[in-house]
Amino acid sequence: MTTQWDTSRAAGIISKYLPLEGPMLPILHALQEEFGFLSDEAIRLVAQTLNVSRAEVYGVVSFYHDFRQEPPGRHVLKICRAEACQSMGSEANAQKLLETLGLDWGDTTPDGRLTVEPVYCLGLCACAPSAMLDDELHARLDAQGLQALAGEVI
């Protein structure tokens, strides 16, 4: 579970990565891992510490699909939408799930339990369709399997 923003703990995390060459991405990953998303406070602190403008940090944060500026749901389900999964019917399965949940891609259920996001390839292309629930990989997921997977957390 992620924790509330805490400037001194964030500063501690950042200082761990400062000796690295090009520390920006590792810092952002670590802060997101700890706090769940990259808040304005986080962006400000990173900018200050790395001595770059906030715009520059914001530019990096907004470029990468992984970085969030809003807290996600308690669980995140990433469903692969790439070609190999499509060839096994992933799009129809995903649409069905989204309809059941009343969500669009990227949305979170109103109770904050589940965010559904697209992912473009998990490298499980010979056992498509695939998805990742939090850190757990799933392959050969038919429509029923996908519904059941989401059902585990909602």
């Binding site: 991405l25 590792p26 530019g59 699909h65 060839s87 473009y120 998990l122 490298g123 292309c125 799933h138």
Partner: protein
């Protein structure tokens, strides 16, 4: 008795962790003397989870295993087990391969140094230590190895350029941002034989005088990240990398970072924007220093080349495509997995003979070769030999070696639209043809799908594809026309097009 239960992403996604625990529990319940080894996968993914039991004749496979199949492993009658697939190395899919790079995959425990060295590991690095940097580069040049990320540039020439550059710091960067759908070879070698990549990078360091290396590994591969970090720590602690510091850096979900200059910007902590070339990364790469940037598969091919000699590697293949290619059979295919073979095998042999046709049992309609930026092929083109030049001649590309099969239910106009949508989603935005063209392309294809002025819009798409192909800064915008134009040319009926537009030059 040793029982092997794979620990790569595919097997884990199919429940191999629970299987391993169940096998251990069953063994201790029966008081059987069993040690469970978590090996990498052999790459026969349709059989995963594929459990292997050591026997006098060799390792016997069982797959796809479920928890219910575990007790029968201990019944004493292995041949009668319902999931038995016989001796693993005699399965035709495995026996027909020429595994040079992937020789240890699935055989060994990926993070066991003892396993690695007892299966020929570090022989190449040992030889390289006794050679001059020029001689190492020459060996790689002799092998004919070309960049396996997709561009096919001769690896030895790249290394030679970096070797000749003068700078206080040089870098080896491994591109493990394997974002192409239908590819998983990087993931597999990292998860099944990570020391092979470590060794290849250390050899590259010796060859060009680089003391630091980075592996840029996509965040979508969490298991690969942890296995590689573990392997690097083990190799470093064992003193095997005395003059080389190696670090894994996690990507952040941007497909374009698989393009080498965008990857370098990302490593530097910036937005992953494509750089204009020249200067080439070999002269001004990471932090402006001379940098070897190679795909995982190129670097992982190097230990064999140094151990056995460039000529041994070059003895495989055809034309200017030397050595072997780990072809990845994916999508709607019966026998999906990794098939390493010398260049020259035909597309049809790969899809039908090796892959067994579609998983759905329906006829093959199209095969996308080389990821989301690769062309679609139709069964009429199945005589195309797997070779860089032969694919180019057919307006396609080998790319990173992925083949995604579609059956006759596929709607190719939809797939063409998806290619544009994907490009729009992933464009870094630096050049106009890619940034704007992809969105306009999506809109025009929507019109075609809605059957609005089809002939006119088809001509417009062809024009747009020309602009993207010749005007984009990198392969994202430059190659998106491949899937679009090939789908339109080969399957005009899906677009409602009656007269064929000429293929893009």
């Amino acid at each position: 008795m040793r029982i092997f239960v794979p620990r790569d992403s595919v097997s884990v996604a199919l429940g191999s962790d629970k299987l391993a625990a169940a096998i251990t529990a069953e063994a201790s319940r029966r008081g059987a003397n069993v040690s469970v080894v978590r090996n990498g996968s052999r790459g026969m993914f349709w059989l995963e989870p594929l459990v292997e039991v050591e026997s006098d004749e060799g390792r016997v496979g069982f797959g796809p295993m479920t928890l219910a199949d575990v007790p029968a492993l201990f019944s004493g009658d292995l041949k009668g087990h319902p999931k038995s697939v016989g001796l693993v190395e005699e399965i035709p899919f495995f026996a027909k391969q020429q595994r040079l790079t992937f020789a240890r995959c699935g055989v060994t425990d990926p993070v066991s140094l003892t396993d690695y060295t007892s299966h020929g590991g570090f022989k190449g690095l040992e030889k390289a230590r006794a050679m001059t940097p020029a001689a190492i580069c020459a060996e790689v040049k002799d092998s004919g190895l070309r960049g396996r990320g997709g561009a096919g540039f001769p690896t030895g020439i790249k290394w030679e350029t970096v070797r000749n550059a003068q700078a206080p710091q040089k870098y080896i960067v491994c591109n493990a941002d394997e974002g192409d759908s239908g590819t998983f070879a990087d993931r597999l070698i990292i998860e099944a034989d990570p020391f092979c990549l470590v060794e290849g990078m250390a050899i590259a360091g010796l060859a060009v005088g680089a003391t630091r290396g980075y592996v840029y590994l996509r965040s979508e591969y969490p298991l690969a990240i942890s296995i590689l970090r573990e392997a690097i720590a083990i190799a470093t602690d064992a003193g095997l990398l005395p003059d080389f510091t190696l670090e894994v850096r996690e990507g952040a979900g941007a497909y374009v970072c698989g393009e080498e200059t965008a990857l370098l910007d990302s490593l530097e902590g910036k937005r992953g924007m494509v750089r204009a070339k020249p200067p080439i990364p070999a002269l001004r790469g990471l932090f402006g220093q001379p940098t070897v940037i190679n795909n995982v598969l190129s670097l992982a091919a190097v230990p064999y080349i140094l151990a056995e000699g460039g000529a041994a590697y070059a003895a495989y293949g055809m034309g200017r495509s030397r050595g072997t290619m780990p072809v990845q059979l994916a999508g709607n295919i019966k026998h999906g997995g990794l098939f390493e073979i010398a260049f020259g095998i035909t597309l049809g042999e790969l899809i039908n003979d090796i892959g067994g046709g579609t998983a759905s049992g329906r006829p093959v309609r199209a095969v996308q070769a080389g990821g989301p930026l690769g062309a679609y092929f139709s069964p009429a083109q199945f005589d195309t030999p797997y070779d860089y030049e032969a694919f180019t001649a057919r307006n396609g590309l080998i790319g990173h070696g992925g083949l995604v099969v579609f059956d006759d239910t596929a709607d190719m106009a939809h797939m063409a639209r998806f290619a544009m949508e994907f490009c729009a989603h992933e464009s870094c935005g630096k050049c106009t043809p890619c940034r704007i063209g992809s969105t306009r392309g999506m809109e025009v294809l929507d019109k075609i799908i809605a059957r609005e002025n089809v002939a006119e819009n088809a001509a417009l798409i062809r024009d747009l594809c020309d602009t993207m192909k010749f005007g984009s800064l990198c392969a994202l915008g430059g190659f998106t026309p491949y899937p679009v134009m090939s789908a339109l040319t080969l399957f005009p009926e899906d677009f409602g097009v009656t007269s064929l537009p000429a293929a893009a030059e």
